[in-house]
């Protein structure tokens, strides 16, 4: 059951993220990238296998195998990935804001006509 929930959560995040990334407005693309990075983070976490109530730090008295412990490495990888994707989202937002003021619009599909639609000057 946990696996099923986990896998479908990753799937839903990826699908929504992909749909948003393919849209023609910067704001939607940024949201899509954020959802996509959530999916990726969950996926990395799942690659350490889903365990229940298993510590990641070795304790004396318990044999140090993956049967007794959660794999700590994917957790470390997830931390790195979260930090990087967080910084990247901030950067893209800054870019999007600057682009909105310089180009007077947040369309990002290169279509010159559409760029000036319904954006308050």
């Amino acid at each position: 059951m946990t696996e099923w929930l986990f896998a479908s959560a990753i799937g839903v995040f990826t699908a929504c993220g992909l749909w948003l990334v393919l849209r023609a407005r910067t704001f939607d693309v940024v949201l899509g990238l954020a959802l996509f990075s959530y999916a990726v983070n969950l996926f990395i976490f799942a690659m350490g296998r889903l365990t229940f109530a298993a510590p990641a730090i070795v304790q004396p008295g318990t044999q140090a195998t993956l049967a007794n412990y959660a794999d700590p490495l994917p957790q470390a990888l997830v931390l790195t990935a979260i930090v990087i994707s967080f910084a990247m989202t901030a950067l893209v937002l800054t870019l999007a804001l600057k682009g909105r003021f310089v180009n007077r619009g947040d369309a990002c599909d290169g279509d010159e006509e559409k760029r000036f639609e319904d954006v308050p000057r």
Binding site: V21, T26, V29, L33, F36, S37, A39, V40, F43, I44, A46, M47, G48, R49, L73, P74, L77, T80, A81, I84, S85, A87, M88, L91, V92, L95, A96, K98, G99, V102, N103, C108, G110
Partner: protein, 509 residues
């Protein structure tokens, strides 16, 4: 006690990183010191890169265990011939690009700090021995490249920059999926350890690992601008300021390096890679050459024209690398040549654009250049080099690739693509040159080529000449690199057998 030579492996990463921090600090107190310090650090890293290449040339694979952890458990830096070659090339390009930025650097903030970060990221990507750190260094160099690209950004550059950032962020997500999939299947991230574990996987897990390999190739294909993934490149490079575009000449080569590293060092022991992966990459490389040649003929601006030449060379290198050891050796020689040529051409065409007023780098009737002779000669030399015509080193590279390409019937396509793209690139460059230099009217009003820009071009020209004069040595080195890559056991053995040093006063654990 003298430190072992392995300790030098960490310096090309750490030195620019510290320099970047120092430069940020100096920006407020002593802004005038930034450029000299940046140049000294870059020169030091370049000299060190050549020293490391000399070490790698003794067929010794240097392994540095960060934090003194044994190989599959800790992070390793590995210096084989290919890594050393890329480091030395990065050093030359970085010095030239920094020299050319002498005038530009005054205009935007943080240029030097980001430049050093980019250098650290590039060197790290070439030296790292595990796939997650490859991801991290990719991100380091990409963040720096975003900032450098948008250094003086106007509207067009911002939009190109946005595309570049979003495409690379999606690439980063795919990279993470692939890396974690490999970890989930094999329990390792280390290239050498992966190479040992992949052939022993059960059938189902091997399929997953191959899926991860394909995802990795997609990610690196984005960086190398292979055909279905390379449409971002001309627009992005067209928007970058001159020295940044010159430095970006090495960026597609990072993707090519990573493709070679994954297909040879990591998946070299997997028959599936040689049976399916190599032919697929070969075809994509050929298609990239065709697309690049078409783009070069179609474009009406100088800077995107050079960007399309980058695409042609990317496709050529990937296609040649998949044709066996001798062709890979030729490809590595050509890689050095084409990076130098393209970086120089970016500097020259930006200097031309600076002298044409509002017409900038668009073809057609514009004001005459201030220095038509100097720029004309530079453009001619650069064009001959970039198109790979005799007598310059590009021709030697092409001959080496064609000679090494073997006898298989499918190789005819490679010959056709290499020779045809050379012809089309020559047409495109000749047309561009005649349009820019001869169709003129009015008064020359532009600024003369800056001294730093001239120094950068001169350095690249000297490097190219040395590559031509010492073609025998360079070709021997690149062939030896290819042979080393074809034996992934050497790499894996060196990494896995490296023992941690025992700290003074304690016995080895």
């Amino acid at each position: 006690m003298t430190p072992a030579p392995e300790h030098w492996l960490v310096v090309p990463i750490v030195l620019p990183l510290f320099a970047a921090v120092l430069l940020l600090l100096l920006e407020r107190i002593r802004p005038a010191w930034q450029a000299p310090i940046s140049l000294v650090v870059t020169l030091a890293v370049a000299v060190l890169a050549f020293r490391l290449a000399a070490i790698a040339d003794t067929d010794r694979i240097g392994v540095y265990l960060l934090g003194n952890w044994r190989a599959p458990f800790g992070i390793v830096l590995v210096l084989d011939r290919l890594a050393a070659l890329m480091l030395a090339l990065t050093g030359v390009i970085a010095v030239a690009s920094l020299a050319a930025s002498w005038r530009l650097a005054g205009r935007g903030p943080h240029f030097h700090a980001f430049f050093q970060m980019q250098l650290a990221g590039l060197n790290g990507a070439f030296l790292t021995g595990d796939i997650f750190n490859l991801f991290v260094f990719f991100e380091v160099l990409l963040i720096a490249s975003y900032a450098l690209l948008l250094h003086q950004a106007g509207g067009r550059a911002l939009r190109a920059g946005m595309h570049y950032v979003v495409i690379n962020l999606i690439g980063a997500s795919l990279f993470l999926i692939a890396a974690s999939l490999l970890y989930g299947v094999t329990g390792s991230l280390n290239f050498a350890d992966l190479a040992g574990r992949l052939p022993a996987l059960p059938e189902w897990d091997a399929g997953l690992a191959r899926g991860a390999a394909l995802l990795l190739l997609v990610v690196f294909g984005v960086k190398a601008a292979l055909l279905p993934l390379g449409f971002w490149l001309p627009e992005t490079y067209g928007a970058a300021p001159a020295p940044v575009a010159a430095l970006f000449a090495i960026m597609t080569k990072v993707g090519i390096y990573a493709i070679i590293r994954v297909t040879f060092t990591v998946f070299g022991g997997d028959d599936w890679m040689t049976e399916w992966g190599h032919p697929a990459l070969y075809v994509l490389g050929l298609l990239t050459i065709v697309f690049g040649a078409m783009g070069a003929l179609a474009t009406k601006r100088l800077v995107p024209l050079i960007a399309y030449l980058v695409l042609i060379s990317s496709g050529m290198l990937i296609a040649a690398a998949m044709l066996g050891v001798a062709a890979l050796g030729g490809a590595l020689y050509y890689l050095v040549h084409t990076t130098l040529a393209v970086a120089g051409m970016f500097l020259v065409v930006h200097a031309i654009a600076d002298q044409r007023g509002p017409r900038a780098d668009r073809f057609g009737n514009g004001p005459p250049l201030v220095q038509p002779t100097l720029l004309g000669v530079l453009f001619l030399i650069g064009a001959v080099a970039a198109a790979g015509l005799p007598p310059l080193s590009g021709f030697i590279g092409k001959v080496l690739m064609l000679q090494g390409s073997g006898q298989a019937p499918s190789v005819a396509w490679f010959w056709a693509a290499v020779l045809g793209s050379g012809l089309l690139a020559t047409f495109a460059l000749a047309r561009a040159g005649s349009s820019v230099f001869w169709k003129t009217h009015g008064m020359a009003t532009g600024v003369p080529m800056a001294l730093g820009n001239r120094a950068g071009v001169a350095l690249l020209a000297v490097a190219g000449t040395l590559l031509f004069v010492f073609a025998g040595d360079a070709a021997r080195y690149s062939l030896a690199s290819a042979q080393q890559l074809a034996q992934p056991r050497l790499y894996a053995g060196a990494v896995m057998s490296q023992t941690p040093v025992s700290p003074p006063g304690r016995t080895s654990p």
